[in-house]
Point group: C2
DNA sequence: GTGCAACTTAAAGCCGACTTGAGGTCAAGC
DNA sequence: GCTTGACCTCAAGTCGGCTTTAAGTTGCAC
């Protein structure tokens, strides 16, 4: 990135409706290197010019938006790829299909929110009051097994052991992944 | 890690109120290696036996709970260290002191929740409806920054800082229809 | 006093998501 | 046809947060 603001590649040279990697970078907000990386992971594809340069269809922007949203929801790029693979690419995903995915993400977001709210309660109940009782404090006794879950936050405080249905596998399986494992 | 459940080191041998690294590991849920790593970062300390083995006071558990909560809130270990350094260690932090910190975290948590809720709305408004309109879709045009904070949330949709008049419309045009090129 | 689990250190490895660098090629505007 | 910026590949580096490995030492029960 870091192109001069007025060097709008987006409207510049190059052919009609195929985007160069630089244009795609500008428009998606990702670095060109990231786009190549995504391609190496099979997240996006490009056709090539005779000279070997990448050209992207505009639909790629949609895929990228999807990927970024997936990350935002807490999926890894690999999980995002799996989710993308389940969407028809050729006939362009229908609203229903997007909806199905979006819906599973909703619940994932809800989980995250719930977890944060739990943490909030714990904080005011434990740290907040200064007790941090070793025998009773939820912060200690959360029973946290803390799998390496999200990218950013590796170990969770975890939810209450009594809080019902176990850790719940990631959205991946809400997306229908039969495989799973991880 | 993963000691047999009944080999409770926690109640085993060793001296009265100092914990060995194994005991601390069991009780905190962290691996011993992680505890050594934390020590190397200055997050926790230990006294040593004549033979050089670490012994921890129980207060260390509190520090660890603090650290884990900090991570959960989205702080790095380094930030956690800074926060810890601001708390008196010798006279044991008072409730007020914990509260002050906890309070700042509350708002941080609130921010994260707000962000997630925003994402949720965006998802149902954009992906959910299947539009993903490039000119209008909030997923593309979102202006939220918030840094790589959340547990699961590393990269946000969007980048685009202040930038003001936002001349660089992210992904404009194209794709007005689901059909799109090709 | 011996046996053995639990401990010690330093250095290296790993994962995810990229970025950076080196060395070279393409394509478009003049 | 030349220049120049955008592009190419492949390998290696980065960062945070740990874990693993190797080789050696401690400490407690018996």
């Amino acid at each position: 990135m870091t192109a001069h603001p007025d060097a709008r590649r987006g409207s510049g040279p190059h052919s009609a409706d195929l985007l160069t990697i630089g244009q795609l970078a500008d428009r998606s907000g990702l670095a060109a290197s990231a786009l190549r990386y995504y391609e190496s992971l099979g997240l996006i594809q490009a056709t090539r010019t005779a000279g070997g340069q990448r050209r992207y269809t505009r639909g790629t922007l949609r895929r990228i938006a999807f990927i970024r949203a997936a990350q935002r929801v807490g999926l890894s790029l690999d999980e995002a790829r799996v989710a993308l693979d389940r969407l028809p690419e050729r006939p362009a995903p229908s609203g229903t299909e997007w909806s199905r995915v979006a819906e599973s993400w909703q619940s994932r977001i809800d989980e995250q929110i719930a977890e944060l709210e739990l943490l909030k309660r714990k904080l005011s109940g434990c740290i907040g009051c200064g007790c941090l009782s070793l025998t009773r404090c939820a912060l200690y006794n959360a029973g946290d097994r803390a799998g390496a879950a999200g990218p950013g936050a590796r170990y969770l405080l975890t939810r209450d052991p009594a809080a019902g249905p176990e850790p719940v596998s990631p959205v991946a399986d809400a997306l229908g992944g039969p495989s799973e494992g991880r």
